[in-house]
Symmetry: C2
Subunit: 677 residues, 2 copies
């Protein structure tokens, strides 16, 4: 049980082993979650005591005359992943999951999060908090209607509400006689004494080798779109962090795993205002940005905190009209723009332009996936040897793959916290191991690893599920059907401008056939050194239609509670498809290059088309990954890759049944011949 | 060329024959559409001269101070099919298609309709009208922004705008400095001198044998849903015509092909107000409706025209809150309800309840489809004999199937104007033959017939495409791929509560594979003696999720312009599917019972699953339709049906390719044996 030095000890694993010795496993499991129905309630050590901070927040609420205060789990840029200093939800509730909303009244407190996080919430929250499981705005509003008296006001921080979210609340509260009250000074910040400061970090510009379009070219391109827009917008306000990062080809590291810097951009036809923490802009970057002039291609640097004041002054001028995207702009900046000076679309022209990668972006993003595949192959090969020895855990595996990635060129860390999950832990779709929960890896459990890297040239995200022992028939069937889902999406041909939501059922269909399904989405956009979930591309209902040159993950799965979890995730790019009769059709080209666990594939379930796709994919892995492994001098890894990409033979496939009837025919033919002879 | 008496003469066919004699076919074709770029413009005889009526309308617009007037193609109940007296769009423009919107300014006039109707519009409109092809509200608004000056008003009839449509216009006009002006007195009616009157028709109640729930039971059921609603609605306003028809188990015939009567219902917990043309209510119906009392199960009859006045009085009472469905309620009734007295959902609880058919409804709707199949089999068999003789046309075929249906029990006419289309006419997806356009049926062209019946127990809708000669390889491939689409949807297994829009791509996928597609939806709800397109069930994005007991059409197609059209349409009901692991899964059970044209099926393209589905379907036709044909003494039809439902053998199927390799194997085996011997 000796773990290598520098590897964190898997605390819960040790506790479990101890419990097993005393025959008390169930009790050990129970103790990880709170039990508020006991007197006194049972609170696990992983929970945070929120009594005092709740009391302080309630005191701040009183003079404002609000009956409830909403605490969303986001930042002023509606980022999906946020910096610790923006994690007001975690501070108030103890819950650290990446999605949630809290509401506090003078007597109650409730937190809404989705099924991925229910167990985690029960482990991290004390009994001040109720856990609510329906995360729709309607559900939050139902709760508010029960708790807020008629005529009551509900406070919220307008910086933390997307415009669309604000509208959704307003629509749901309509004619309920309760109103929203915008409070720009965040009340949680007022009681959060040791809130982390802004990081003193220098921003960087991307190297030229990963860029096709300079920031000046991008600015011109966006201005052309503004000029073409019939609504006569005179300015574009960019609020999402990846918008400014993309426009200026710059990156930062304000948010873990996400190379962003806090910023807004106001772009007009003859000026560019970049709001950011100006003290972090080096002299070199000032030159890069033409920061010392005021012309159309000069970037005027403004202090981040002046956004509302500057915007107010700007919109006071006659004839101006500001274009904003409603999905990623906060309500605070919209509050200061009068209705007739506002033009909205779901996504800004920057997000729509960024969604289609240019030739260079496509090339370097593919390159990043080749190097990334090396790291994942190294992990899988290492585990195959190490796991049977009984020394590895979910955490050691996660650290191993992170280390492998860090050795690859242009890597700047993982793109999210590695999900390394064995057996029942993998049934929690977004589980990441901690000392308290981590399991030892064994030949008796399926293992799921979902990980990705940030590289200067691209962001990666890949999931493989493996078994080092003998999988059950059900595990093999479920894995094969998840794989069939992945293949069916990957190989499908569809007209350009088809929405992901209209084809994502192909990822589920083979599972549905036997009454299985999964509870998460089927894929999200991925790009060139941005957040790992890059909107607005993917298979969700609010994603934009596919055009050639978009990168998305494809990740069907299946999760059997308390037993195992399967997910097979690849990144693919939409490419033109040649068809017999039509033009303007697309298909996917998979850019992740790691073989699937052969042991888990029941080829008799695959159609001949699926089998053919699989063999073609494996040929691609050999052709593209092989030379990279050679280049890096990884002989053993190359052999492992070749062993695991051997083509499946026809006789393994679903056509077996047909072939067996062919064999009967042969037998008959032979028998006939023999009679003749 | 002698057509049977009573059959209308196919005028255009004769013209075409004459043209052919003089070698002038192309010119004959050209002459059917207007040409506004000529001087003077060429206007075909099928077009309507709208100069005078436009002038009169523009005079009515002047005193109202509106720069534009919108004329939607619907009625006050947002009906899809409308009575001639409501066809203001047709009166103003000449265009008689079932979907369109017109806008008139003092100098311009434009009409928006979708691709199904572009050719028809060019034939029916004079050069006062521009044809606009993007039917989105955004496109209409773009046009309005170009034509209406800043500060200008745009007039509309609030009775002809669904609430949702009104919101859509408002959102699109937002911050454009143009406003909508509600004008409850319709301006077209003011210039339409010979507008048809209301029909003097007696309403009827449905016979008990087709009903499980009396109107009293339905009222109680809906009241329970009102009581359960957390928004405390005290009244439900029903505005769509099928809502009142369903609730009271009553029908009328105000709209051709649609058994509806003009009506609104206001339902509270202790009163029922039915607004209709009271002079049409017979004494027997008054008894049926308990019309002489005021209790909770008494129907108080109110005059149709008093709806706004009565509603105003009703909402003036304190504490009332009116529930309406935004998809099928006009803006006029909402205008009189203040915001805080309104509760909205997309569809009323009546439309949602009606969407799931009860046991009796399911049984009798299946029965109607059995009798309906007899009529379609009679048509197909008759055409097979008659067409080679050269005497039949699109119109004679349409009349034949209408006549066959009329002989079936409980038939009350077709459910829409029969689409009977040969060769290039079938490429117009919703073409119906007229004297001017109808073609002779020949063995050289594909033929498409889309028809349906209204029966007291159900509404039917079925499309078959056939060829009496030798189809081209492309026709056969396209037909087979359309059929594959129909089969793939029909046989798919999916979780209850899946939306149609998420699975409808299965109807397109086999076409997409070779770069083909179709430009219309994939299916719509069908029900028990209502309109043939019964909302909100189907495969459109605003349809509700599927639950067991919903009936929908499944109708993929393919249309090759100026050449041929294919559509294969069946009605199917969602039924529970048994799966290996899961519960609450559904699949479709096809209730239309007419075989497909064997000659057009390339079985080598079908998967073994598709082939198996097809053979099982044919067994069902034999099992269910066979006894009905026997009962009706239709021996010849029975033989035709049996001939056309012979099972496809395995050797016809997609496994051919595998079998041919098996044959190679056999050859090899035999060769080896011979060598041995």
């Amino acid at each position: 049980m000796a773990l290598p030095a520098k590897m964190p000890i898997c605390g819960w694993l040790l506790a479990l082993s101890l419990a097993a010795l005393t025959g008390n496993i169930v009790a050990a499991n129970e103790r990880t979650e709170r039990n508020c129905s006991l007197t006194p309630p049972y609170i696990p050590s992983t929970a945070v005591n929120t009594t005092l901070r709740l009391q302080e927040l309630r005191e701040k609420m009183l003079p404002l005359n609000i009956s409830a205060y909403i605490i969303p789990g986001t930042d002023a840029h509606l980022s999906e992943y946020i910096a610790p200093r923006d994690n007001r939800l975690a501070f108030m509730t103890g819950f650290t999951g990446s999605a949630g909303t809290a509401v506090v009244t003078q007597t109650k407190a409730a937190m809404w999060t989705d099924s991925r996080y229910w167990v985690q919430a029960e482990r991290q929250m004390d009994c001040n908090w109720a856990l609510e499981k329906d995360v729709s705005v309607a559900s939050v509003v139902d709760w508010l209607l029960a708790e807020v008296p008629h005529g009551g006001q509900i406070g919220f921080d307008p910086f933390l509400f997307a415009i669309r979210k604000h509208t959704e609340y307003e629509v749901n509260l309509e004619s309920s006689n309760r109103t929203l009250k915008s409070i720009p000074n965040n009340l949680v910040d007022e009681v959060w004494k040791d809130r982390p400061p802004i990081q003193p970090y220098s921003l960087t510009r991307l190297p030229d080798r990963v860029i096709q379009r300079s920031w000046q070219m991008k600015v011109e391109h966006i201005r052309n779109q503004m000029a073409d827009n019939p609504y006569d917008s005179t300015a574009l306000l960019l609020s999402a962090l990846d918008e400014s990062a993309w426009l200026f080809n710059m990156r930062g590291n304000d948010i873990p795993y996400n190379p962003f810097f806090y910023s807004y951009t106001l772009l007009t036809m003859d000026e560019i205002w970049l709001f950011l923490h100006t003290e972090r802009v080096t002299d070199e970057l000032k030159v890069y940005l033409n920061a010392s002039c005021n012309g159309p291609l000069c970037v005027q640097l403004k202090s981040y905190d002046t956004i509302l004041g500057e915007l107010k002054k700007f919109v006071a001028k006659p004839g101006c009209k500001v274009w904003i995207g409603t999905e990623y702009t906060n309500y605070a900046v919209v509050e200061v723009i009068t209705q007739e000076k506002l033009f909205t679309s779901s996504y800004s022209p920057v997000l729509l332009t960024k969604a289609v990668k240019d030739e260079t972006e496509q090339r370097v993003l593919r390159d990043a996936h080749v190097r990334d595949a090396v790291a994942v192959v190294q992990l899988l090969m290492w585990l195959e040897n190490a796991v049977p020895k009984g020394t590895e855990t979910e955490l050691t595996a996660a650290h191993y793959v992170d280390k492998c990635r860090s050795k690859q060129m242009d890597n700047s860390g993982p793109s999210f916290e590695t999900i390394s999950a064995s057996g029942p832990n993998a049934a929690l779709a977004h589980y990441s191991p901690t000392n308290e929960t981590c399991r030892r890896l064994t030949v008796d459990e399926m293992y799921l690893v979902d990980s990705g890297g940030q590289y200067l040239d691209g962001t990666t995200d890949i999931t493989r599920t493996v078994h080092w022992g003998i999988p059950t028939a059900m595990q093999k069937e479920a894995f094969t059907r998840v794989l069939m889902g992945n293949i069916e999406i990957s190989r499908t041909i569809f007209p350009s401008d088809t929405r992901g939501i209209n084809i994502e059922m192909l990822g589920r269909r083979a599972l549905w056939e036997v009454g299985l399904n999964y509870g998460h989405g089927t894929g999200h956009g991925v790009g060139n050194y941005f957040g790992v979930h890059e909107w607005p591309v993917g298979f969700q209902s609010n994603n934009i239609p596919f055009r050639a040159g978009m990168f998305t993950s494809i990740e069907p799965g299946y999760y059997k509670e308390d037993d195992f979890g399967i997910r097979i995730e690849d990144v693919a790019v939409t490419v033109p498809a040649q068809t017999k009769y039509g033009n303007n059709y697309l298909t996917f080209d998979t850019v992740s290059l790691v073989p699937y666990d052969k042991k888990l594939i029941d080829t008799s379930l695959l159609s001949s088309e699926q089998l053919q796709w699989l063999n073609t994919y494996y040929e691609t892995i050999r052709r593209v990954l092989g030379p990279e492994l050679d280049k890096q001098g990884l002989r053993e890894e190359k052999e492992w890759m070749l062993r695991n990409t051997e083509p499946f033979s026809r006789s393994d496939s679903g056509s077996t049944r047909l072939f067996s009837s062919s064999l009967t025919l042969i037998t008959v033919a032979v028998a006939l011949l023999q009679n003749t002879v």
